[in-house]
Amino acid sequence: MHELETRERETPAIEARGLGIQYRRYLRQVTTLKDSVVGLFKGSHYQSYWALRELSLLIRPGERVGVIGPNGAGKTTLLKAVAGVLPPSEGEMITRGRIAPLFGLGGGFRNDLTGRENIFLNGAILGLRRKEIEERVGRIIDFAEIGDFIDAPLHTYSSGMRARLGFSVATDINPEILLLDEVLSAGDARFRTKAIERLESLFSAGKTVVVVSHAMNQVERLSDRVVYLHKGRIVADGEPKEVIRLYLADTGKGAPAAPPAPGGQGEGRRSDNANFDE
């Protein structure tokens, strides 16, 4: 219990309070004025559904949290909510420190610009000032192993080169929070080793990490805490081995069992906000 108290006194790096993210699934293609006028009489032309609902989660600085759950559980939505891409439909999401989203690497890249220009653009997209990018550009080119191609337009790059460049920019911004959706597939085996080394050095430098994955062995190796999501709610949250075991047991049965009776609150306890409609 003592550990829990110190945990709560520390300012969390990531703080979700009653977080809800609602998507709209459109039944027709686009919204027009006509649609919205017709909608007044015929009812709406879309269905809303909650990708995340009443989710509360505190992550301390330096914690490495794995997020697991079946497809459609809201794992990627949670990651995007932490990244600030998806603003909460209800509740709050507060983060402290610079975030490096390692999903959709190089998503801001433009094919008509050179590798070097793309480093500047991508750095600016990640919120760096021009000076900060200038300090890093040499190191980024070296790490990505682009060589002479750096001043060639990006459409001449192989997909491996693009991924390497994206990874190198995203991990060189001195982030406090790292977000990973599935562990890296950037580049060949040799680069992957190097990338994992860099990630591990960031991990050991006390960065906060949130990693979403279906590969349980990776989750267990990378995380010191695992959150199990199902239908947008937290089913369990705690010690990796325990939570993974619970998840695997549930997938065997098809759906998670009802939360256990209160009182049994060890590590790997089921979260008390896991109440399902179905």
């Binding site: 919204t31 891409v85 959709g104 008509d112 610009l113 750095g123 600016a124 990640l126 919120g127 021009r130």
Partner: protein, 258 residues
């Protein structure tokens, strides 16, 4: 409401790159490239000069300069709004992938148009200097007029690009509105030509003041009156406030609708 502007200052490097990219993309692949910035208004002015000097028969010292001075201000406004319109929708891929201050999209387009406008002015001043009409000293008031035009155009751009996210109809509606506004603005004619009642009507158009003021300082060599500054800046600031309000109230939902 001012929080997004503060954030934009932090992301100023990004705003700068988007301005440069917008200029690059606009003239990419054309043989004359950047020269089109100057050539475009000159050719447009040539066409209008040929047409209106035949049919409109407006008595002016130099109809070409009369026309061009107002046309430059108008084109800045209409292109800022017209090209910002889809700026959020077109960048949906980026918006759905990574967090960005959304203001950079319309503002980078307004910014690249502002650079274009400065080139326009250079072209105009060269033309005027070589013509019999000359460049009046009141050109020193141009920055104050441009600021009015900039505030107005930014406000309109913010308003229209947010509305377009939710109602794609505006991509079709806006060009028609712009065409109507073009004829309702004294660009190829003088405001007094529609009589006193007509002039009152013309003043309802928000672009009236910056367009007329640009012509006053660049062509007529007159300092705009207090009424023109007051109403011009008043309208511009009001539109910017409305635009910023609508944008900041709706930007949280852009990612879900764009």
């Amino acid at each position: 409401m001012l929080e997004p502007l503060k954030e934009l200052v932090r992301y100023r490097a990004l705003l700068g790159y988007f301005v440069i990219l917008d200029l690059k993309v606009r003239y990419r692949g054309s043989v004359l490239g950047f020269l089109w910035t100057l050539l475009n208004p000159l050719l447009l002015m040539l066409v209008m000069w040929v047409v209106f000097s035949r049919f409109a028969r407006i008595e002016e010292d130099s109809y070409a300069l009369f026309l061009l001075s107002a046309l430059m201000a108008w084109l800045f406004f209409s292109q800022s709004v017209g090209r910002s319109l889809t700026s959020i929708v077109q960048n949906r891929g980026l918006i759905q992938l990574i967090y960005l201050p959304k203001l950079v999209f319309p503002f980078s387009i307004v910014g690249s148009n502002l650079l274009n406008l400065l080139f326009f002015f250079v072209a105009y001043l060269i033309l005027a200097a070589f013509s019999d009409h000359g460049v009046p000293w009141t050109v020193v008031f141009l920055p104050a007029v441009v600021l009015m035009l900039l505030i107005l155009s930014a406000g309109a751009a913010l308003l229209m690009c947010s509305l377009t996210v939710f109602f794609r109809d505006f991509t079709h509606l806006t060009p028609v509105l712009m065409r109507a506004l073009f004829y309702l603005t004294p660009i190829f004619y003088r405001p007094d030509m529609l009589g006193p009642k007509g002039e009152v009507l013309l003043r309802l158009s928000p672009v009236f003041y910056p367009v007329v003021a640009t012509r006053e300082v660049l062509y007529y060599g007159r300092i705009p009156g207090a009424e023109m500054w007051g109403l011009g800046y008043g309208t511009a600031l009001l539109l910017l406030a409305v635009g910023l309000l609508v944008f900041t109230k709706t930007e949280r939902r852009f990612v879900y609708y764009a």
